[in-house]
């Protein structure tokens, strides 16, 4: 049995705990022995991206202290994984950050990689649009980048494509940013919401019933815009969708 720790980012814990519960259920269904003993609230990404480096270092240090005990840490968030892997080692150089960077995985990346399950058997009879957060897509390279002339790809894309009954809806600008961007969402609120609206327009314009992402932070923002517009779109985290499809 593979032993893994589930690391739940601060905002998922509070705003979307169902994504964390789905991640746990899914990992257990796939035969993992999941520890819930990872106890640090945040990796410090919000501070780091805002330039508040000292605070980012403080908070990341708490995270690293919690991560030493585990051989694999799974996060239901591409952007936090990206921060851990690409920024924290420079912020807090040393064995602890190198270890954390090595053992931390985004959920789909973990299932397809270390778990060796690139696709899962399941059933989800809906029209689904996929949104990969930019840090997952271009930072972790978990999807194609049209800038590099790559077709859509990556673990989440493959898993969605393999589910029975699921229709993946093509988007006009599949890899355009949704406009969340951390503090950008409140620092540049008008551009942020304009980008989010355009993303949702692309999604619903192609007749999607469900919008799914591996990044709960993008979803927080997109869901807010969808609710404001009383949209019927169902906004889901990839863990929730996979858990429901493989039940």
């Amino acid at each position: 049995m593979i032993r893994v720790a589930l690391a739940v980012p601060c905002y998922v814990d509070q705003f979307r705990p169902q994504a964390a519960r789905a991640t746990l259920a899914l990992l257990e269904r796939l035969g993992c022995d999941v520890s819930l003993g990872f106890d640090a609230p945040c990796c410090g990404q919000p501070m780091f991206n805002a330039g508040v480096v000292e605070a980012a270092r403080d908070v990341a240090a708490g995270w690293l202290a919690a991560s030493g005990a585990f051989d694999a840490i799974v996060m239901p968030s591409g952007s936090c994984t990206h921060h851990l892997r690409h920024h924290v080692p420079a912020l807090l150089a040393g064995a602890a950050s190198a270890h954390a960077a090595r053992v931390t995985y985004e959920l789909c990346e973990f299932i397809a990689g270390p778990l060796g399950r690139p696709t899962l058997a399941g059933h989800f009879p809906h029209r689904v649009a996929m949104h990969l957060g930019c840090h997952a897509r271009r930072g972790l390279r978990l999807g194609g980048a049209t800038e590099l002339h790559q077709p859509e790809s990556g673990p989440m894309h493959a898993m969605l494509g393999a589910l029975d009954g699921l229709t993946l809806v093509p988007l006009d600008r599949a890899d355009e940013c949704c406009g969340f961007g951390g503090t950008f969402a409140v620092g540049e609120p008008d551009v942020s919401v304009s980008m989010g609206r355009d993303k949702l327009g692309d999604v619903t314009g192609h007749g999607a019933e469900v919008l799914v992402s591996s990044d709960p932070s993008c979803l927080l923002h997109l869901d807010g815009i969808a609710r404001h517009g009383r949209s019927a779109l169902r906004v889901m985290h990839i863990a929730e969708l996979l858990e429901e499809a493989t039940r």
Binding site: C10, V12, D13, Q14, F15, P17, Q18, A20, R21, L36, G37, D39, P41, C42, P46, M47, N49, A50, G51, V52, V53, A55, V59, G62, C134, H135, R137, R138, A145, T146, E147, L148, H149, R173, E176, C177, G181, G182, T183, F184, A185, V186, G187, E188, P189, D190, V191, S192, V193, S194, M195, G196, R197, D198, L220, H221, G224, I225, R227, H228
Partner: protein, 456 residues
């Protein structure tokens, strides 16, 4: 709000226009995608990045080599430490030759140095001969995009401007008719100019040559019809060899507009008989940038405009929202070096989506430099208003599991007791533009785990 966020909000007030702007630039991005779909594209980008890094590492040697060869070819080479010296040198050349009218092709460097207003104040008439530049010049504006200066102008508006300034028939909006009128109008300026000023896309050290790319041929007309050609060039445009140039030219045109090569690519190495040629080499902060290890690759920029076209923020906020000569992502990492106080908000005008680094033909890691500028600004006490306090609170809240649990319990109490409408007031930037507040769950994951899984 002030600065970029406020200007962007004003730009977005006209939703239809903002959507049109976004779509026009996205179209350029798609042309770039098609034009750059070559098997060797990524190798070209690596080569472009490497040859620029090489040139910057030997900047002084290559510039001196350029000066030697250009001088031997009969070109007069000038050195300008800053914008003021640059403008004075150009004025000196014009005064000595008694020139009162000049034509000027596209040059972001002369925009940077404020050459037009400077010369005009000295009684010298300057006519910009690039069509887009002429449009904004006639309108009394600055370019809003480094490659497509009048991208924010609609055809009908250009028709009205030309009607007012060139006497085209009222209501004329056909691009062909307007371009024909502009051609007649510009030809007059080109033929009567006492000097032709151009920028340069590259300086080749091994030949002493200046390379100018345009799609309209206006730079060629300007430099070849006037008795004096003045090329105003930033020193970072130097490259070592002609072979290097081949790589850059392919990258430039395909990234900018998706064309295999610009319509006119001119190599000038010497003045024609009877004419004079000057090259003004301008530093204006470039050597300081070179000395800044974390930021120096910004000097590799070939001003193709691809990062502007791909930037979801630029597309939805317009060139003027940046308040800088160079706009968009590259502008946001160049401007803080000039004045951190004035431009501290620009590094925040990005979601860090990373599209710019993936389109950049010379692979400048713009997001990394945006982050580095944010950190420098913050360290210098230049955080955007409100950030400092928010992050101090967050640092404490997120510091330990116990503080986090306590703070979030309080937040939920507030959410239960305070009406949602109060929390979504005009003061709240999250909700104001039309975005519902996220809802704190009744039970957090950690609380659930404690209850269901006996976690401590």
């Amino acid at each position: 709000m002030t600065g970029h966020p406020a200007a962007a909000a004003r730009f977005l007030d006209d939703a239809a226009r903002a959507a049109w702007h976004d779509q026009s630039l996205w179209f350029m991005r798609q042309k770039r995608d098609r034009g750059s779909a070559l098997p060797e594209w990524e190798s070209l980008r690596f080569a472009g990045s490497a040859l620029k890094a090489h040139a910057m590492s030997r900047l002084a040697d290559l510039l001196e080599e350029f000066e030697r060869r250009a001088t031997a070819n009969g070109v007069v080479v000038h050195w300008a430490r800053d914008a003021r010296e640059h403008n004075a040198i150009v004025l000196g050349i014009l005064r000595t030759a008694h020139v009162t009218r000049v034509s000027k092709s596209k040059s972001m460097l002369t925009e940077e140095c404020g050459l037009n207003p400077f010369l005009e104040a000295q009684g010298i008439e300057v006519v910009d001969t690039d069509l887009g530049e002429r449009i904004v010049q006639l309108a009394g504006e600055a370019p809003s995009h480094i490659v497509i200066p009048a991208i924010h102008w609609k055809r009908e508006e250009i028709g009205a401007l030309f009607h007012r300034t060139m006497g085209t028939p009222a209501g004329e909006t056909s691009p062909d008719a307007l371009a024909a009128a502009a051609r007649v109008h510009l030809r007059d300026a080109l033929l009567h100019a006492g000097a032709g000023i151009t920028g340069a896309n590259a300086l080749v050290a091994e030949t002493g040559g200046v390379v100018v790319c345009t799609n309209e041929g206006n730079a060629d007309l300007g430099m070849h019809s006037a008795p004096i050609h003045i090329a105003c060039v930033g020193i970072e445009k130097i490259i070592a060899t002609r072979d290097d140039l081949g790589v850059l030219l392919r990258l430039l045109a395909r990234s900018g507009t998706g064309q295999p090569v610009t319509a006119y690519t001119t190599h000038v190495t010497a003045p024609r008989p009877g004419a004079a040629m000057h090259v003004v080499l301008v530093d204006n902060g470039r050597t300081a940038r070179l000395a800044d290890a974390a930021m120096r690759t910004a000097l590799h920029c070939i001003r193709c405009g691809a990062c502007l076209n791909t930037c979801p923020v630029y597309r939805r906020s317009g060139g003027y929202s940046y308040g800088t000569v160079i706009q968009g992502p590259i502008g946001a990492i160049l401007a803080p070096a000039i004045d951190l106080d004035a431009h501290q908000a620009l590094p925040y005008a990005s979601t860090l989506c990373g599209s710019c680094v993936d389109v950049c033909p010379v692979r400048i890691d713009i997001p990394a430099q945006l982050l580095a500028w944010r950190a420098r600004g913050a360290a210098a006490g230049r955080l955007p208003r409100g950030y400092g306090i928010v992050f101090e609170v967050l640092r404490r809240v997120l510091g330990t599991p116990a503080t986090f649990a306590r703070a979030t319990r309080w937040a939920r109490r507030v959410q239960r007791l305070v009406p949602a409408a109060w929390l979504s007031g005009r003061w709240n930037p999250w909700t104001r533009p039309g975005r519902a507040l996220p809802v704190l769950a009744d039970e957090s994951f950690r609380e659930w785990a404690r209850r269901e899984r006996n976690q401590p």
